[in-house]
Symmetry: C2
Subunit: 412 residues, 2 copies
């Protein structure tokens, strides 16, 4: 049966203090592309339409921080519950809120509950589907991955006692899913020792409810952000993901949009793995709005043989009205094709200085505006070289998404 027929909720323990990161901020609140990691995880959960409720478990001291994150990034359907002293106690608190036996609580008891980690933002809907389906059949299920290192058991003297045969063990990852009654019963029955020192929910379901926890092969993307290096990796992955689509907004005034299509061709050649589309804005801008709705975060705006910015300005207006840049910085490169041999470049640059001021304005809405002048030379070879260099610059601006370069006027 389809998962939408089930009532599914998710519990997200986020009470950890991040001592392994070597930074003061708990890792779930560390910023990745300017936004706390936990917001990226919530966004990934929210995409999944068949998850009814999401319970985030945070420490009392982080409760206000969490509330402001939910408000700022417009997360919906989140309930906050206070964390316990250990991971198991926190999860138990989250489950209690879902049990429907507390009079004041607006949440209803789900059939299946997903338990995930605030610091694992990179799952797909399919990863959740797999554990939910298996939990429905077996009572409990969890994603696992092959071990990366050999696991060894130390002797009391700190020497090697024995090493485990790597192929016979797995790393237990998240997400996990449970029939709600199974895992809630397990937590109600389980010992103080387990609540204090245990680390594995599947083990509780097995020990206290004899649920045969099904192990599901997880994707490599389920990794947990643990160390500072993982934050670097997360930021690079997210930057790569939101740079997978580039929209070229053609210049309406240019009848055949020749320059625009030349640049499109070169960008497609230079950026093998990126989907480059082009659009001539229609009168009411609805085709641009459609692209914004499809979550394209990278725009190249053509202004052929002109140092004005009508085309760019129109796009910026639409981006400002949309909610697109709430979640990620949007890059807009205002491209100006100018023949360098017709008058000195410096004059053209001067008249493009408006970009500096405009960029400061739209930065407030998380939009990163840069200018790029491409030499529209009559010499075919010069033109091709300039186009190629322009494509390299555009690719770098989109990939790095660095606000330090906003308002700059680059030359190809």
């Amino acid at each position: 049966s389809s998962p939408s027929a089930l009532a599914v909720a998710a519990v997200l323990p986020a009470g950890g203090c991040g001592e392994r990161m070597g930074v003061a901020t708990p890792k779930q609140f560390c910023r990745v592309l300017g936004r706390p990691l936990i917001s990226h995880t919530l966004q990934a959960l929210e995409r999944v339409c068949w998850i009814k409720d999401i319970v985030v478990v945070v420490t009392g001291e982080n409760m206000e921080t969490m509330k402001s994150i939910i408000q700022k990034y417009q997360h919906k359907g989140i309930s906050l519950v206070e964390a316990g002293a250990t991971r198991h106690r926190s999860i138990f608190n989250g489950l209690k809120a879902l049990a429907g036996d507390q009079a004041y609580c607006r949440l209803s008891r789900p059939e299946v509950v997903i338990i995930h980690d605030a610091v694992r933002p990179f799952f797909e809907e399919d990863d959740l589907l797999k554990v939910v389906r298996a939990a429905r059949e077996h009572g409990a299920a969890g994603a696992t991955r092959p071990l990366v290192s050999t696991v060894i058991s130390p002797s009391t003297e700190g020497c090697l006692d024995h090493s485990l045969e790597r192929a016979r063990y797995r790393a237990s990852e998240m997400p996990q899913a449970f029939l709600f009654d199974v895992i809630y019963e397990a937590y109600q029955q389980c010992s103080g020792y387990d609540l204090e020192f245990g680390t594995e929910c599947l083990q509780l379901a097995l020990k206290y409810c004899h649920a045969n926890a099904k192990l599901v092969e997880g994707s490599p993307d389920l990794w947990k952000v643990t160390y500072k290096r993982d934050l670097y990796a997360a930021e690079s992955i997210i930057k790569e993901r939101i740079s997978q689509k580039i929209c070229i907004v053609m210049d309406m005034k240019e009848e055949k949009e020749h320059a625009g299509y030349l640049l499109e061709t070169v960008l497609k050649n230079e950026l093998n793995h990126v989907k480059v589309t082009s659009v001539v804005p229609c009168h009411d801008g609805s085709n641009i709005q459609h692209i914004i709705l499809e979550q394209c975060y990278s725009f190249v705006c053509m202004n052929v043989m002109t140092t004005d910015f009508q085309n760019t300005q129109k796009l910026l207006g639409m981006l400002e009205e949309s909610n697109l840049s709430v979640l990620y910085p949007v890059v807009v490169v205002s491209v100006h094709f100018l023949d360098f041999e017709l008058g000195p470049l410096s004059q053209k640059m001067e008249s493009l200085m408006w970009i500096r001021k405009f960029a400061v304005e739209v930065k407030k809405r998380n939009i990163l505006l840069c200018g790029l002048i491409i030499n529209y030379s009559q010499d075919e070879q010069k033109l091709q070289e300039s186009l190629r260099q322009g494509a390299v610059i555009i690719a770098a601006l989109i990939k790095e998404r660095n606000s330090a370069l906003l308002g700059q006027l680059l030359v190809a």
Copy 2:
């Protein structure tokens, strides 16, 4: 005793095929900041003056690639040995080359051998010292780390059989070290099954030579580049490391170097964790050469109230003569302090266009040159804002080290 009194060699198995990366290139040959990962690891081993010989074990098909890496990046004292079909067979081949019992071999038998991974470039000398000292005492030693995930044992039906108590186990990492006679004997004695399916050298030393392998607490930096995300993390870490020092080359013509010291102050404020030093070039340039020798990869070159580039050109000449940019791209920001109110900015930009051509030239030597104009305004507030913005741009250029931006003229 000091480790230099010992004869220490290192074996670096690099025969893996990188199937976990999801890329065609074996991970040890994937480029990090333009240079194959294994070259970063070799560089880290070479820093350690008490390691006499380094044996790299590569597959026959990668032998030529490896030779060209050694030549291009000027690695010294490396011997190449052909890999076997498994990791243990490869390490055994490496040890055979060090055993000194092959007539043709120029290597001499070490007292202690370090076994490390080509895909772990982030160790410190101290990490090696710890395992070498412990190996001398116990016969064998290896670095370990706490487990990141709970380890579980699956049943034959793919369900949870039991989970291991996390605190009682450790992840076995690299480096490891052994008395050469112990580990060589272990490999000579060990079964075909162990050579084929084993993963743990410490286990071989224990099983075949009863060496009580000492477990040493490893630093978090010992992690292994396994997935594509680890390449992203590695690149960010290396970029951060080589951006820890910035040298401001002052303008000799400016008597009191006022502008230079203003920028130095602002850079120090903006870049908390970076060591910013300044130097007024002496006549023979020996003080700059000293800084180059100390491996500073980031330069800010002051040109006050002038659109020429005497100061920058001199620095570039010294950098080109040095070997500095063989290992990492060197960033040079040519800063020009100009009062925007004295004549139009466009004329100044025009006269600074030489940077574009010059940047293409020095790029061949892995030097990334950018220009930056800072408004040297008489208005104190405007000047401070311009300095602050300049510092942000400099920080971004140095941190990203992106060759797409070379030759650009940025404005603060």
